[in-house]
């Protein structure tokens, strides 16, 4: 693995919300890092805390939110400790975001050219005319046809897919270091989804930004991400490279997510979503929050939270099943097939590496 520079470092983040019913512990000790140029996918069911995590990075938490601990280091500065002014300087300049529903995320009464140019005007003090010229360039870059004639149109004159391109143009106009995409394709139909994902990959190469890609659909992760973090009930339960998560998952929750995902590789007849519901975050359970829904739960799961166990240098999972003393369990059949495939892939990779080394030696 190339050790690229880490640009964002989230450490032991804890976020609570004060509500009438009590304190909602939405983020319960989350740590991850983001490297320059990589795409990190955060997956998990609804309510697992994906959006709250991204909002805390943007400094856009709701008024009733309380940072109960942790830090978010960006270029050596803690985002959580920044003043409102500093945060404003960050948002839309260094860290930008794409939202879920393109039908509602554009200002209905402002011309789209203006909307795209706005971050330039705010952050770089670019004069309006020049900003509009750059907005036009960006419109072309994100694939809006006939951009010259459409720059003065209003959002309602565009389709959903085109609007999401506009939202992407707004996010990228300042060439941000981090792009947060919170379920950017969930509201779009499948063909448009694919186009938007293609566009994001293409633009990531051109603009060389890092992406945090939020989704509850593992299906779109495979083609997008370099690494994956799996979230459950306000915690990350497993993280690793895409191949590690897809083909060598260790956490029973990840097994459940993968089993409920239709793919070409799997035999489609055993599709099932994970039974049960996530725990109440007003009063999270004592041990492993997933234990009540986990058919592989051990006794210790209800008493003590599992720490992260190392699977490889890049792959960690928080499940007691990885403890040396834990009984050996047999994962679902589908997961075993995935693991077999992973073994083959690893052998191939090794063979390739061997081959490369041999070639190098020959050349010398």
């Amino acid at each position: 693995m190339q050790s690229k520079e880490t640009i964002l470092d989230v450490n032991h983040l804890k976020i609570n919300f004060n509500t009438y019913a009590g304190t909602v512990k939405a983020i319960r000790d989350v740590s991850f890092s983001l490297k320059k140029g990589e795409t990190l996918a955060i997956v998990g069911e609804s309510g697992s805390g994906k959006t709250v995590t991204t909002r805390s990075i943007m400094g856009l938490l709701a008024n009733n939110a309380v940072v109960a601990g942790g830090s978010i280091q960006f270029h050596g500065q803690d985002v959580l400790k920044m003043s409102q002014k500093q945060l404003e300087g960050l948002r839309g300049a260094k860290i930008a975001q794409i939202f879920q529903d393109p039908m509602t995320s554009l200002d209905p009464t402002m011309r789209i050219g203006r909307q795209i140019a706005e971050p330039l005007i705010i952050h770089k003090g670019v004069k309006k005319e020049k900003a509009m010229a750059q907005a036009l360039e960006m419109m072309k870059l994100v694939g809006i046809t006939d951009a010259e004639n459409r720059i003065n149109d209003y959002p309602h004159q565009f389709s959903g897919g085109m609007r999401q391109r506009i939202v992407i143009a707004i996010a990228l106009i300042n060439y941000p270091e981090i792009l947060i995409a919170d379920e950017p394709t969930t509201a779009l139909d499948v063909t448009i989804q694919a186009q938007i994902l293609d566009l994001m990959r293409e633009l990531q190469d051109k603009i060389s930004t890092s992406i945090i890609f939020i989704t509850h659909d593992l299906g779109v992760v495979a083609g997008m991400a370099d690494r994956v973090a799996v979230m459950y009930a306000g915690k990350i339960v497993e993280y690793g490279t895409v191949d590690e998560i897809f083909y060598n998952p260790k956490h029973p929750y990840t097994w459940g997510l993968l089993s409920s995902m239709p793919t070409l590789d799997t035999h489609g007849d055993e599709l099932a979503s994970i039974p049960g519901t996530p725990p109440d975050l007003l009063d999270p359970p004592k041990g492993d929050a997933f234990a009540p829904r986990n058919p592989y739960a051990l006794k210790i799961d209800t008493e003590q939270e599992p720490p992260f166990f190392k699977v490889s240098d890049t792959h960690y999972a928080a499940t007691w099943l990885l403890h040396p003393d834990a009984p050996k369990v047999t994962p679902p059949e589908q997961i075993i097939e995935r693991q077999k495939k992973f073994a083959v892939m690893q052998k191939e990779a090794e063979a390739k590496e061997q081959h490369r080394i041999e070639e190098e030696e020959e050349q010398q």
């Binding site: 409102q84 009464t109 706005e118 939202v167």
Partner: protein, 309 residues
Amino acid sequence: MAKYLLKRVFYLLLTLFIVITVTFFLMKLLPGTPLQNQQKLSPAQQHLILKQYGLTKPIWQQYLIYVGGVFQGNFGTSFQFSDQPVSYLISSRIGPSLLLGLQAMILGVVPGILVGALGAIKKNTWVDTTTTIISILGISIPSFVLAVLLQYFLGLKLHLFPIADWGGFAYTVLPTLALAASPFADTARFTRTEMVDVLNSDYIELARAKGLSKWGVIYHHALRNSLIPVVTIIGPLAVNIMTGSMVIENIFSIPGIGEQFVKSILTNDYPTIMAVTIVYSVMLMVVLLITDIVYGIIDPRIRISGRSN
């Protein structure tokens, strides 16, 4: 746009025609005659007077004559002031009413917008609570109560403004205040609701994510989007002011059509009642037409769909 306008004016005239017809026949159905208080008159004398006003003709003839007259600006002769054409009565009295109405509209809407927006921006703070209480008061205190209070405190006690009659600007202040209270409260409440919605919308979230400051978000994105719908309540506010003016003009002895209207009702002065009703309808329809046009101009979504039609 020209085609749209023509269509709207056509509908306006059609509505006006219906209003005239309905008022005419309603008047005919009402019990009581203009002569009811003059029992001293002999039946023969009564007949003579009725004939003079054309009231002995068959109803359908009366109707045709009336409609024909109205479209030529002739509303007949007042029963109450037998020497005055109704059209003169109205034209000499409409000025004060229009002035009051316009002042009340401006004094209601502009501060209403400001107060409503402030309440939304400072939601759930003491500012919000205060502005909400003010607008609830504005809605729940009847205008005639407010009028009397204003007369008592600002007029009688403090001698700031004349308490009745009609003269310069000073005479308009108290009645305008009394009339403006309810539109002010309505506008404030409506604006607050709109703006709270807008401030919770996705595009405001995106505006924040762009790095705009709190006031930048409000100024560039929230205000425009929450003010556009306010145009739609101008029509109902105009109705509010018109009905209010009937009471207020009486309380302040203002020689306007509202005061005339009440007088005419008390004396069964049918021609004047009908004429004032028609004038009110026309004013309301014109207000609605103007607000629709303005709405189309300031909301791009309407503008475009209008063009493609």
